[in-house]
Symmetry: C2
Subunit: 377 residues, 2 copies
């Protein structure tokens, strides 16, 4: 059955994409009268295909809310990437097609993200208690809502067959006493992040079940703890639940044991794994000494169940010549293979003030790094 | 013989890199007393290995002169990349190791790039004729000098065995009448670019032959016509010569038929190839319509002997979410394979204000594009 669905998915793509005859039109049609639906194609099976309607990407109904509200872009990218990975556990990229959230509008999401009040009865953040003391006020817990829809082809239609909703909870809530005053912060304990997140999740699930068109699809809800605004890495997911049938309250939470860090770990602070930290520090010192001028070397790292599950190394250097960049990149490839941990996928980018100069990447089961040096004519 | 050298080169690398015992030291030693020499390693045979001494890259003796003097970075990168390609015709990446120029110092290059005068007798640009009229003054012709050394292993030493010198000639010379005055320009005809470039090349060859340690190695000299400062693509090489033995004057110039353009070609202007331009325009309009907001699509293109030999597409878009970037990149892969010319290597980068979001690449003999989406934790 699974194999059938897989083949079907591939045929669907093929049909939609080969249906187009003329050279200036990528579109195929699923219906002759309705909107022309097309899929984005799939780079590889680690990504979902997306939905194109009438030649244009079907964007989220709440497009741009997160970008407008979040100060730390790592909390947006980490949140969305992580949520996709959770979705993939439940909704296979081979069977399901990804659709940007179509059921929660900008207006809805903005109201939900605000405090509950007389004028905003649907607010999911607590009513103000009047205090402006960092430790006494009611902080805002909920910071981002991301809806991901999963559809499957049924005849000529794409039918909603699953949904994932991510809720990002503040670990720090930033506020000002007056418009031009300094930014203050209320720290939120892990226990509060968890209990508030779960309470909000129940309300969200209940509301989403009632939205017209959603029905009895499986709804995954996942909870993310945001990093602080000055963090060089995003936060991490800590719990998720799969809610099947008509359930409108979460019965079982599955914990996610995931943490993010920035390497190098500052001296005196405890890191996740001494071996990995030493390996990175050795790599860093080799790389920093390559040029007479210093190169900056930092990494975002992620641990899952105590094991390194991903690393993004960012190297900043001064551009002197293309030949230096070529030599540097080749050296990095050797140094990375020699020093950096073997188990996790690793990206390394080399940046100058002009932008990205080169980058190296090693996938999860690959032995060697591939390198790309950005050319210019 | 060639095969022997090839193997030898690989063994050399292997020796140098496996010679190091401790985990925190990449260095191998070629001599026990002198500087420890190491190579950068080779990503693939399209790149030269570079030279590392005592753990540090052996930088050019005139490091940074071009970066300081050139306003248009495309003229630096295009010049250096193009020069490497000319070098590869003469000095195989399998036999030769690349060494940043060690014979022309910053001081020498700066003097040569200046006007000839009583205080600067070695200046390779003409003495001022006193005029400040754009059409009557003597412009500066020579704008960049790039020295590339090619060495081979001989016992425990790396011996200089070849050299390539690139000379970049202005097509426009920018000047000011007074320090705070407006920037004016003197346009230089193609005929002048060629004749002045060749005259300067003869002087340079004569001087370089006399430098201690250079001897009777083959010296390649290549001439590059710079693009204007506002160009979105660099210039191109138009002539080169291989000067063997003790020759100190160029006897034979080999023309290079290479041009660079920016796509889209402005309407009303003549481009290099109507089919390629139409293909790009179709790609562009597909891509620009993908999101409700407009994406910018421009390309640097290079033609060699009338045929497209390379394309760098730069797409700028607004970041709304990681899932949009994933869908966009997958769509681009299909659109690029469908529309863009098949023969040439093509890079496509997707940029937002946050930097590079994703990129796609297809090598010279590859059928499909590979894509990489930059992740964040």
């Amino acid at each position: 059955m699974k194999k059938f669905i897989l083949s079907f998915g591939i045929i669907l793509t093929g049909l939609l994409l080969t249906a187009c005859g003329s050279a200036d039109n990528l579109q195929g049609g699923t219906t002759s009268s309705g909107p022309k639906t097309q899929l984005t194609g799939q780079t590889d099976s680690s990504y979902y295909q997306g939905v194109i309607e009438n030649g244009r990407y079907q964007t989220s109904k709440s497009r741009g809310v997160s970008v407008q509200q979040e100060s730390n872009q790592f909390n947006i990218k980490g949140f969305e990437n992580g949520l996709l990975n959770i979705s993939k556990k439940q909704f296979s990229t081979k069977k399901y097609i990804f659709q940007e959230g179509q059921y929660l509008s900008t207006n809805t999401v903005e109201n939900w993200l605000n405090r509950k009040s007389k004028t905003n009865p649907t607010g999911l953040n607590p009513t103000s208690n009047g205090s402006t003391s960092p430790t006494k006020r009611n902080p805002l817990y909920l910071s981002q809502i991301d809806e991901q829809d999963f559809v499957v082809q049924n005849g000529k239609k794409l039918n909603l067959s699953g949904m994932t909703i991510g809720l990002a909870i503040n670990s720090v809530d930033y506020f000002k006493k007056s418009q031009n005053g300094p930014t203050l912060q209320t720290n939120i304990s892990d226990a509060q992040v968890q209990s508030q997140g779960k309470a909000i999740a129940n309300q969200v699930l209940q509301r989403v079940r009632k939205i017209k068109g959603v029905g009895n699809i499986p709804i995954v809800i996942a909870l993310y703890k945001q990093a602080s605004n000055d963090s060089l890495v995003g936060g991490s997911f800590f719990d998720y639940s799969v809610n099947t049938g008509s359930s409108s309250a979460v019965s079982t939470w599955k914990p996610i044991n995931q943490q993010t860090y920035v390497f190098p770990i500052p001296s005196g602070q405890k890191g996740p794994n001494k071996n990995d930290q030493d390996a990175f520090d050795n790599f860093k010192s080799q790389v920093q000494n390559f040029f007479p001028n210093l190169s900056g070397v930092v990494a975002q790292v992620q641990y899952t169940d105590g094991i390194l599950s991903g690393m993004n190394v960012n190297i900043t250097t001064q551009f002197y010549s293309q030949t230096e960049i070529i030599s540097f990149t080749q050296y990095l490839q050797q140094a990375a293979e020699k020093y950096l941990p073997q188990t996790a996928p690793i990206d390394i980018s080399v940046q100058s003030t002009e932008g990205m100069e080169s980058f190296l990447s090693r996938g999860i089961n690959q032995k060697n790094f591939t390198a790309h040096i950005f050319n210019s004519y």
